[in-house]
Amino acid sequence: MPGTSAANIENRPQRVLPKILFLPFALAFLLLLFTGNALAEEEALIYKNARDRMVRTQIKSRGISDPATLRAMESVPRHLFVPETSVPDAYDDRPLPIGYGQTISQPYIVAYMTEIVQPKPQQRILEIGTGSGYQAAILAETGVSVYTIEIIPELAKNASERLRRLGYGRVQVKSGDGYFGWEKHAPYDAIVVTAAAEYIPPPLLVQLKDGGRMVIPVGSPFFVQTLMLVEKHGKETGTRSLMPVRFVPFRRAE
């Protein structure tokens, strides 16, 4: 080492003691690191199993069969998109509150909406209502480019950071009024409206490609009753009301 003097070299034995004292701490640190990693791996495995179970019991069993959708639902760590207090319930068959009067949808609804819009790699999909960013991450996993708009600035900021941290760089998040859509990236192959309004904004219909699909859940925050699919065919736009329950159609009690 340049500048090391003989005097310094002579002093070396005197520093051995502190180093010995330091050794147990270093070992403890390594042990902690090792067990910490092992715990993290174990935790990841637990969540992976929960996810697999969720796909098997809540999604496949209700008729979702699109391979890309199922793969996405198996991959995206839903527990990282819910508030800390809801992590134990992240893979339950229900929506969960995320603050600001918003919810992260029931896993089945997310899967159903994804399957309905038939995402294909290289397509562009606009999402209105980013919320936690979970639906956007699922769509991104299918290989599409996702543009998502959230009107509540705090939710937009959190979702943007979360998506970036989890590696969903293809998802572009904008904080703003979803009414106007995102003209810059239009037209879109599909539009997913996660926060339904009592009207369908005309600019969204304009930004939807001819032959494109728009899906909107209809219901209260904790009970989606139907999904509305809007299909654009030239000047004539039609709607289709779909039932997000496996026992459809609704029948009278026997």
Partner: protein
């Protein structure tokens, strides 16, 4: 007590009255505050449980009567100061609970249950302390119970008036502390001459807390799922106007992203305008329309609600529950020459007139528009004109309300209401009603059923010739025409549907496949059910459908209540147990309230028996007599409020008139009873007389009200007072007479009896709602009479 001077007794009576004012006013204020921060039915649940404080007070006095009586001169003012301090602070303290609590999450997040229990406990504190003071006075002066009960009832009646006055004057967060002032005054009135060393600091503390909470009230934390809070979450949103009123807190919100276009057609290509919106108690009330006489087109032209205008150009239009006037401006734009807008929420009308008249283009001051601030049914009963078009308010909201308003009385949508409207139509007049589509179908089917039953009652053999309905992606509009639809009108309906991408659902000559040209349904069963409703087989559908579809009636005016308990297992299988409460949360909450209060009441009633003994005395007699009185009095109060809403035309005034008149006249009855000699049989005879009177009222009151509803308001108020005075006066007798009789037999049982009465009164509020839903208000009236019969029959168990 013989040594107590007359002046001290008078002060004590006044103190009871003041404390009663405070308790009743606080109760009403708390309902108001919780209705704003949460929902009405949640407020109802909290209050019901909190009122058990009365029962708990009775139980505690029964358990430690001697201890309390020995210290009464010191304890009474202390309890009143304590009650005042609790009234002033409890809302602020529970903000810590409610800050993270949401009644909508009750069925989602198990931790909410503990927060709810804590909230219930906190809210019951002021009632418990106040009731303890009143109960102690009753026990101490049971020989003069007639006059003290009079003071209690008179104060309670005045408390209702005080609440209504302050609701209109002060902001909601100040109200609880203002009611505490009456409790403070009650305490100061009876300050003893000794042991002031403890009482003065307590009084000072209570005064300081009250003053602080009036001057610096806490911020009310509103549920994040309420319409108002969701709107305020929009960027740059803010409250731009606010009015306090007994109808509710009215607020106007402005936000650059706030738009309103209910179920607008997919063909609408222009920008949906930004509107300011009105909220009442945090719930959506309506958007403020910017109307101009120069407009030739209206936003509602692009909704299914434009169906009647596609068929004709009506001259005389009646808009019921006109809200912020969107349907009124639509009618004007479509060329109507005379429009009557009926809207009972006079605070909103005043606000719109004073602050938004210019924005609305002077809509409500237009020469063609007459605004009537009355309940629609009351207006219809007093009006003799005929209309080309009658428009009902839209049913439901987009996506549903999770059934939070399931038990709201909707007198505008009953079979009797539609028949009344039918009589107000010109020979070619149209009655029009729209609903948001729901799944499983409920609102549209009940609306169709109500219209078909109205036609049947009017003697129309072929309802299909008089009924048209069109459907968009989200809404459905029904039109009933007094004469059969003409071929030209039918052609116009089809053209309207083609232009707007709507589908006809009901038309006299509907062709197969026409119902789903633009808007497809995966589950088409709604069409089958619609057809069944039009056929004589509809009774079969009513019986077998998972939800109640029979039209609402004046006896059961719950249009939005659909849940049938026997269908619950099927619905759980279908939607899952977690989702089912969101189908009809309002009713679920009432059921939970009932069981919660029943369990608590049972404990509170049984507990004193461990001290008083199970067998000694006349336990069964006491239980029967005072349970009967508690149930009977409360049921009568609830059913009379229902009866007088239509009669007086204002729900708030009806509630105020009934509560105040009943309590004050009962108080007079109680006072009169104190001048009577008491024999063993007197209390039972009094209860029997009340039962008989109520039985007569159950049958006579509805026709009397119906025949006098057209009278002027002055006469109606006189009638109301006379009609309420008779049974109320009689109802003032049994309780004090019974207590006096009990005191003769076993004075130690007096607080237990008082507690039973309190517990059962609270339980009856939930019970009344359940019976009204399941069997109708007439059954509630009969049950009230039966409760007094039970009290009268208690004689045989002595």
């Amino acid at each position: 007590m013989n040594q107590t001077s007359a002046a001290a007794l008078n002060r004590l009576h006044l103190s009871v009255a003041l404390l009663s004012i405070a308790i009743i006013a606080f109760q009403l204020v708390l309902i108001h505050v919780l209705s704003i921060t949460q929902w009405h039915y949640f407020a109802y649940m909290v209050i019901s449980v909190a009122l058990l404080g009365f029962g708990a007070a009775g139980t505690l006095i029964a358990l430690a009567r001697g201890w309390f009586l020995e210290r009464s001169s010191f304890l009474l003012p202390l309890l009143m100061f304590g009650s005042a301090a609790a009234m002033a602070t409890v809302v602020g303290i529970t903000q810590a609970v409610f800050g993270g609590f949401d009644s909508l999450l009750l069925f989602v997040d198990p931790s909410q249950v503990w927060r709810l229990l804590l909230a219930n406990l906190l809210f019951s504190t002021p009632f418990f302390l106040g009731a303890l003071a009143i109960g102690l006075i009753f026990v101490q002066h049971v020989d003069q119970i007639g006059t003290f009960y009079f003071a209690n009832l008179l104060g309670s009646g005045l408390g209702g008036i005080v609440a209504i006055i302050i609701l209109g004057l002060l902001s909601p967060q100040q109200l609880p502390a203002v009611t505490a002032v009456f409790s403070l005054a009650a305490g100061f009135l009876i300050l003893p001459n000794r042991r002031l060393r403890w009482l003065i600091p307590a009084a000072f503390l209570a005064c300081a807390l009250t003053a602080f909470n009036i001057v610096r009230p806490v911020y009310l934390s509103i549920s994040e799922y309420k319409d108002l809070q969701r709107t305020l979450n929009l960027p740059d949103a803010g409250i731009v106007a606010q009015r306090n009123s007994p109808y509710g807190l009215v607020q106007v919100v402005s936000a650059p992203a706030l738009r309103h276009a209910p179920g607008i057609s997919l063909t609408y290509s222009r920008e949906i305008p930004v509107r300011e919106a009105v909220f009442s108690n945090g719930n959506w009330f309506g958007a403020i329309s910017e109307w101009s006489a120069a407009n030739t087109e209206h936003l509602l032209d692009y909704t299914t609600g434009a169906l009647p205008y596609a068929m004709a150009t009506p001259n005389d239009v009646l808009v019921l529950r006109a809200g912020t006037g969107m349907d009124v401006s639509h009618a004007l734009t479509r060329g109507a020459r005379r429009i009557v807008a009926v809207e009972p929420h006079s605070t909103v009308l005043d606000l719109l007139d004073e602050q938004y008249s210019k924005t609305m283009g002077g809509l409500f001051r237009h020469p063609a528009v007459t605004v009537v601030p009355l309940e629609p049914r009351t207006y219809l009963a007093t009006d003799s004109s005929h209309y080309d078009l009658i428009i009902l308010p839209m049913v439901g909201v987009f996506g549903g309300t999770a059934g939070l308003f399931a038990l709201q009385e909707q007198n505008t949508f009953t079979r009797e209401a539609l028949s009344e409207m039918w009589r107000h139509l010109t020979p070619d007049g149209i009655l029009c009603a729209s609903a948001w589509l729901d799944y499983p179908a409920r609102n549209p089917l009940r609306l169709a059923a109500t219209m078909v039953e109205t036609l049947a009652e009017a003697g129309i053999d072929n309802p299909a010739a008089h009924l048209a309905a069109v459907r968009s992606w989200g809404t459905i509009t029904f039109c009933v025409k007094r004469s059969p639809f003409t071929p030209v009108e039918i052609r116009n309906v089809r053209e309207f549907c083609r232009q707007m991408l709507f589908d006809p659902v009901l038309l006299p000559d509907l062709k197969p496949g026409e119902r789903e040209h633009y808007n497809l349904l995966e589950d088409r069963s709604i069409f089958t059910y619609m057809d069944q409703i039009l056929s004589p087989a509809r009774q079969e559908l009513y019986k077998t459908y998972d939800f109640r579809l029979q039209p609402a009636t004046d006896n059961r005016p719950f249009f939005s209540q659909f849940l049938r308990w026997q269908s619950l297992p099927h619905l759980i299988r279908l939607f899952g147990e977690r989702a089912v409460p969101f189908i009809e949360m309002g009713y679920f909450i009432v059921i939970i309230t009932f069981f919660q209060t029943a369990a608590a009441a049972l404990v509170l009633i049984i507990l004193p028996l461990f001290r008083l003994g199970w067998r000694s005395g006349n336990r069964l007699w006491t239980l029967m007599y005072f349970s009967g009185l508690g149930v009977g009095f409360m049921l009568v109060e609830i059913v009379l409020i229902h009866c007088f809403v239509l009669y007086l035309g204002h729900p708030v005034y009806a509630a105020a008139a009934v509560i105040c008149a009943m309590l004050i006249f009962s108080g007079i009855g109680s006072y009169t009873s104190s001048c009577m000699p008491i024999h063993e049989a007197t209390p039972y005879r009094a209860a029997g007389l009340v039962a008989l009177m109520l039985l007569l009222y159950a049958f006579l009151l509805p026709p009397i009200l119906q025949h006098t509803i057209t009278f002027s308001m002055g006469w109606k108020i006189i009638f109301t007072m006379v009609l309420l005075a008779l049974p109320s006066f009689a109802m003032g007798f049994p309780f004090p007479l019974g207590l006096q009789l009990l005191a003769r037999r076993s004075e130690a049982d007096v607080p237990w009896a008082w507690g039973i009465n309190g517990c059962l009164s609270v339980l009856s509020t939930a019970l009344a709602t359940i019976i009204a839903v399941e069997a109708g208000f007439a059954a509630v009236f009969l049950l009230a009479s039966a409760a007094y019969v039970i009290a009268a029959l208690a004689e045989f168990w002595t």
